[in-house]
């Protein structure tokens, strides 16, 4: 039905855009990672030193593992908050379902920065939470570890990503025909068995999508640590950011970025394979 010119006209511009603004930049980044810095200048001297530096220097590994732990923590917490919420909306909310869904979406439209800032004001030593605790005489002095710690980063990012995790899970759950739940009950399985043997397996694609999203984006986040992380909450992306800033070592920064890029692509491939195995339609 569509002529060759139509198809060409439609596919060429986006392909060119993708090539120019995605492939070329990634290639440049890869090239940078193989160069080095001398006397404040980038030298096009091809070598693998940046990568060996990453592997040898314990600081980078330490920050990387901390970042992984934070990302894993955010993902798990978001799932623990987002999944039950999605389940409640889909199966128990009845006619209020649509309204409640909109209420979950609203915070997504509120600026990331704004929400991060809000946590800063809540968790600080002079912040709202400490003020609240002291007002109720639960504590007499400000609690220090709330702010400027990995804990604060996890808390803030969980807050950001819970709605993002909620969305695909909710879509998955809505997609499950209610007749299947009835069939399960009909055959003698109670609420709990039905959940674990029918609902959970069928919601896996959504769960996987949400978890991947939360994990990868938490991994590469540099703003949350700057807002609420403090020195103990630094993540790998902060190192990259400073290498492109004050610490001026673009090649090394590029090397870490390439690693993050490859890791993301690898994870996406894995998610695709799992999704194919678990998709039933």
């Amino acid at each position: 039905m569509y002529s060759k010119t139509y198809k060409l006209f439609v596919s060429l511009p986006p392909i060119l855009w993708v090539a120019l603004f995605l492939l070329v930049p990634y290639a440049l980044m890869f090239a940078h990672s193989l160069w080095s810095v001398q006397n404040g200048n980038i030298v096009h001297h091809w070598n693998l030193q940046n990568y060996s530096e990453l592997l040898k220097n314990p600081i980078y590994l330490e920050v990387l593992f901390r970042t992984m732990r934070i990302a894993a923590g955010v993902t798990l917490l978001s799932l623990f908050l987002g999944y039950p919420l999605a389940y409640y909306l889909s199966f128990h909310a009845g006619p209020r379902k649509e309204l409640l869904y909109q209420l979950v979406i609203v915070p997504l439209w509120v600026s990331y920065l704004v929400r991060g800032y809000a946590w800063k004001t809540i968790l600080g030593s002079d912040g709202v939470l400490n003020g609240f605790l002291q007002y109720l005489h639960i504590t007499r002095e400000p609690v220090g570890f709330l702010l400027y710690s990995p804990f604060a980063v996890v808390l803030m990012l969980t807050h950001i990503y819970t709605p993002f995790v909620f969305l695909p899970i909710y879509a998955s759950l809505e997609h499950i025909p209610r007749a299947l739940v009835e069939a399960s009950h009909d055959l003698g399985a109670g609420q709990r068995t039905t959940f674990f043997r029918v609902i959970l397996p069928l919601s896996m694609p959504g769960l996987l999508a949400g978890a991947t999203f939360a994990f990868v984006l938490s991994l590469g986040d540099f703003l949350a640590p700057l807002l609420v992380g403090g020195p103990s909450g630094t993540m790998i992306a902060n190192i990259v950011q400073s290498l492109f800033g004050a610490a001026y070592d673009w090649p090394l920064g590029a090397a870490i970025s390439v690693c993050i890029l490859c890791f993301t692509i690898g994870l996406l491939f894995l998610a695709e394979i799992l999704e194919k195995r678990w998709s039933f339609e």
Partner: protein, 264 residues
């Protein structure tokens, strides 16, 4: 379907869900409340209701300059993303070519890739072609990052569309070009608007990519960011509350549009 009353509805789940909601809304509520607090941010309970911070906000010209910059960039990003996103969606829906799978994955990659990577790769590109950092580079960054959003939304819209309308149009003698303008686009109207709203909002809020591509003119998020580094003032609460109100307005509009599309 009405669930049988015999299957116990555990109140525990409802309470838990309420708590999750509370967690999601807590910071927003705090933000709004303290924007009216005379004694600034922090401490408890808030006392002395005032509009001071708002009036200071309205007098602050650099904030409004950055708002203007953000609007310009966002408008451009919407135009760019919708155009290329529509073409990409059409290409994915209607054509086949070697490497289509890779193309699809690349188009969607910026959605899940941390913004810092997109930002830095574009920075290196910009430096390579010796382009000055400015609102133009920010605009390019937003466009690149947000084409994926447009593509997804428009692709879904294309899938939902009845292909036979286009066939009927061609059968009745219209050219493919006319068919596109008179049949395809109108059918995509709601998807286009929804995508446009979403891209606009995301562009207004974008920081990670913008961080590395910004020149002398700040966008709103970066202006706020700069002030945050210097210290906290409730003026920021005030602008945040305003942003919240605008966002809610946009959601209501989006919601109304969806209701209308479903009614059709």
């Amino acid at each position: 379907m009405s669930a049988s009353a015999n299957t116990r509805r555990s109140p525990f789940l409802a309470v838990y869900s309420a708590l999750v909601f509370a967690f999601i809304y807590l910071p927003i509520v705090v933000l709004v409340v303290y924007s009216f607090n005379r004694d600034g941010v922090g401490g408890f309970p808030p006392q002395h209701f005032t509009f001071d911070w708002y009036s200071r906000l309205f007098a602050d010209s650099s904030i409004w300059d950055s708002v203007l910059n953000s609007l310009i960039v966002a408008a451009g990003a919407v135009g760019l993303s919708l155009t290329f996103g529509l073409l990409a969606a059409l290409a994915l829906d209607r054509t086949d070519f070697p490497g289509k799978g890779i193309f699809r994955r690349l188009v969607l990659l910026p959605l899940i890739l941390p913004g810092i990577i997109t930002g830095l790769s574009l920075l290196m590109f910009v430096v390579f072609v010796r382009l000055q950092l400015s609102l133009v580079t920010v605009f390019l960054g937003h466009g690149t990052a947000l084409i994926s959003v447009a593509t997804i939304e428009l692709f879904a819209g294309l899938q939902k569309m009845d292909r036979r309308q286009e066939e009927a149009s061609l059968d009745l003698g219209a050219t493919p070009w006319q068919t596109f303008w008179r049949v395809t686009l109108p059918n995509l109207k709601l998807s286009l608007i929804a995508a446009g709203l979403l891209i606009f909002t995301l562009s207004m809020d974008e920081i990670a990519v913008t961080f590395f591509l910004i020149g002398r003119d700040n966008t709103l998020p970066l202006e706020i960011w700069g002030r945050l580094r210097r210290g906290i003032t409730p003026e920021i609460n005030a602008i945040s509350t305003l942003i919240l109100l605008v966002s809610i307005l946009l959601i209501v509009i989006w919601y109304r549009l969806r209701m209308r599309s479903e009614a059709q």
